[in-house]
């Protein structure tokens, strides 16, 4: 049975060095003893996880395991859900974001999010990227133009759209829309980017571009990504956390999780025995 355990992991995308020594990086996110409830239903049990800064952490696990819920706790997105309740401590760069005094508007500028379904606003490409800065009060046209250009460049979309910034974002392809959403997130100048299955609705070529983009971005941003795709998790992440039935079963360096997991459930999941 042990023979099924993969001894090799697919090569990482450029920019993701899986042998990186994380002890050098300070913690961007430090979650301790997090419990989460939807009304009476408890969906997360005592989750503790440290996310090192400027690295990629992949959250994996079968559907309904709580990985997306955990991700959405990190920018208090679950506040929007009626009856959601969370206990425990989550430090983002040293500040406890569970504190009721925390300003979620500022938190979400600091901790950006990219969703599974690309969600461009029905506005022009330019206005989509400029949305965050505008909400933050930036009005200067040339500052906005510079920002839009640099964010679109970082999201590897500039060359494709630079001649049609005023056309509707709805006219872009699915993969382009998702990169636009990444550019839009970058425009609020976050330190941390949460990605909720950012490529699961995309074709292989677009998925490839998103994965390469993650490799580029992790030099400057801390990224937490939820993915169903085991190969993707192993390609893009430094650290992997495996969730099962609301419990964080195991977390550690991606190369270790994918070659010699210490829990049987982890091994069964990554070898495709369930999920």
């Amino acid at each position: 049975m042990a023979s099924i355990t993969p001894k090799s992991v697919p090569p990482a995308v450029t920019g993701v060095d899986r042998d990186l020594d994380m002890s050098e990086h300070s913690a961007a996110i430090q979650a301790t003893g997090v419990d989460f409830f939807y009304g009476e239903l408890k969906v997360l049990f005592n989750v503790s996880l440290i996310v090192p800064e400027r690295s990629v952490t992949a959250l994996i696990g079968p559907s309904g395991c709580g990985k997306s819920t955990f991700l959405r706790i990190l920018n208090r997105m679950n506040d929007l859900i009626e009856g959601a309740r969370c206990t425990g401590e989550i430090l983002v760069e040293g500040q406890n974001i569970m504190d009721p005094a925390v300003d979620v508007v500022l938190l979400r500028k600091h901790v950006g999010m990219v969703f599974q379904k690309s969600t461009p606003f029905p506005k022009s490409i330019f206005d989509n990227v400029a949305y965050g800065p505008r909400v933050a009060g930036e009005k200067n046209r040339s500052v906005l133009a510079d920002l839009v250009e640099s964010c679109l460049k970082k999201a590897a979309l500039w060359e494709e759209v630079k001649d049609r910034l005023t056309t509707s974002a709805m006219s872009l392809s699915g993969g382009q829309q998702q990169r636009l959403c990444i550019a839009r997130t970058l425009a609020t100048n976050p330190h941390i980017i949460l990605m909720d299955e950012p490529a699961s609705a995309l074709d292989p070529a677009s998925t490839d571009r998103i994965e390469n983009l993650i490799g580029e971005l992790c030099a400057n941003y801390t990224i937490v990504i939820v993915t169903h795709n085991m190969q993707q998790a192993s390609r893009v992440s430094h650290q992997t956390a495996f969730f099962y039935k609301g419990i964080l079963e195991e977390s550690g360096p991606t190369s270790k999780i994918f070659t010699s997991p210490s829990k049987k459930a982890t091994q069964d999941y990554i070898t495709g025995r369930f999920g």
Partner: protein
């Protein structure tokens, strides 16, 4: 033997009388409303455009051009009669315009509050109240305008700036009609605002938006065409509104854009004239049908445009 039985039940159709009966009754229900519409159009056309036999229809005596561009409305028989609809038209549009100024911000504000701000329990409480507002008979609104809004609110308020207000005026009529159509705008707009996908709101919140940013910069722009359709429908309701305008707006057919004076609208003229005692085939009586057709064309056009906009809006999100 068993096999032949199987064939028998499949090949013989049972004729179910009650099914046929139900189908016929339902068809009649549908047909009746279509027939009613057709009959109304026939009656309007038969008196206004072409009358069979001896009597002459309205437009056989007054040219369409004269009717549409004339600025005097004096619906009497004989040489003194003047049939230019501009005074009635201006009265109608004054009322509808004032009603829009009142109802658009109120209705849209209520819709945004209900869909974006209110807790579910608050919404359950607010919606029925709006429906009560929509259920009050328009006669009552008319008296409310005449006996309360005009003498107790508008007169003192306008008196402070030295303006004189007539007992009958289009301002108070427009205001109550605005209050009347506010629930319509609120409930239609709330429907379209709520159909903006949740994912769009979440994306906006994730970019550091406040609730107001989400409403004003993302949700309302995304629902704009649907909201516009709601405005148009309410405008068309305001144009067709009758009783409140008859009571509060007065009966003088004068072409004026001064909301402090009374003015007759198309609908209030129709009420006024049909209670009069002119002969059935006189031109003064037939002018009612001409105004009726004009009203019908205006509201039908607005409703069609609004329906078209709504359909296009739904295509975007469904």
């Amino acid at each position: 033997m068993a096999r032949s039985k199987t064939q028998a039940w499949a090949s013989q159709r049972v004729f179910r009388y009650h099914e046929k009966l139900i189908q016929s009754v339902l068809f009649l229900c549908a047909a009746l409303s279509v027939l009613t519409t057709a009959a109304i159009i026939m009656v309007l056309l038969g008196n206004a455009v072409y009358a069979p036999g001896e009597k002459k229809a309205f437009f056989e005596q007054v040219s369409l051009w004269q009717f549409l561009t004339g600025t005097h409305w004096k619906p009497v028989d004989g040489p003194a009669g003047r049939f230019g609809m501009i005074p009635l038209f201006s009265g109608t549009f004054m009322v509808a315009l004032i009603a829009s100024v009142v109802s658009v911000p109120l209705g849209l504000g209520a819709a945004i509050y209900m869909s974006e701000y209110a807790a579910p329990r608050e919404r359950e409480f607010l919606k029925p109240i709006l429906e009560v507002l929509a259920g009050i008979p328009s006669v009552i609104y008319g008296f409310f305008a005449l006996k309360f809004i005009t003498p107790w609110i508008l007169k003192p308020a306008l008196g402070l700036v030295g303006l004189e207000l007539g007992t009958f005026n289009t301002l108070s009529a427009g205001i109550v009609v605005g209050i009347m159509v506010t629930p319509l705008i609120a409930s239609l707009s709330e429907d379209v605002i709520r159909s903006v996908p949740r994912s769009l709101r979440e994306a906006a919140y994730a970019l550091g938006s406040t609730r107001f940013d989400v409403s004003a910069r993302v949700v309302v722009p995304a629902a704009l065409s649907g909201i516009l359709a709601a405005f148009l429908l309410a405008f068309s309701r305001a144009i067709g509104e009758t009783m409140a305008v008859v009571i509060a707006g007065g009966q003088q057919p004068i072409a004026t854009l001064n909301p402090l004076r009374g003015a007759q609208t198309m609908t209030s003229f129709m009420v006024h004239a049909s209670t009069g005692d002119s002969a059935a085939d006189s031109i003064s009586r037939m002018s009612i049908y001409a105004i009726g057709i004009a009203l019908f064309v205006i509201t039908l056009t607005i409703n069609l445009i609004s329906g078209w906009i709504l359909r296009r809006f739904r295509e975007v999100y469904q």
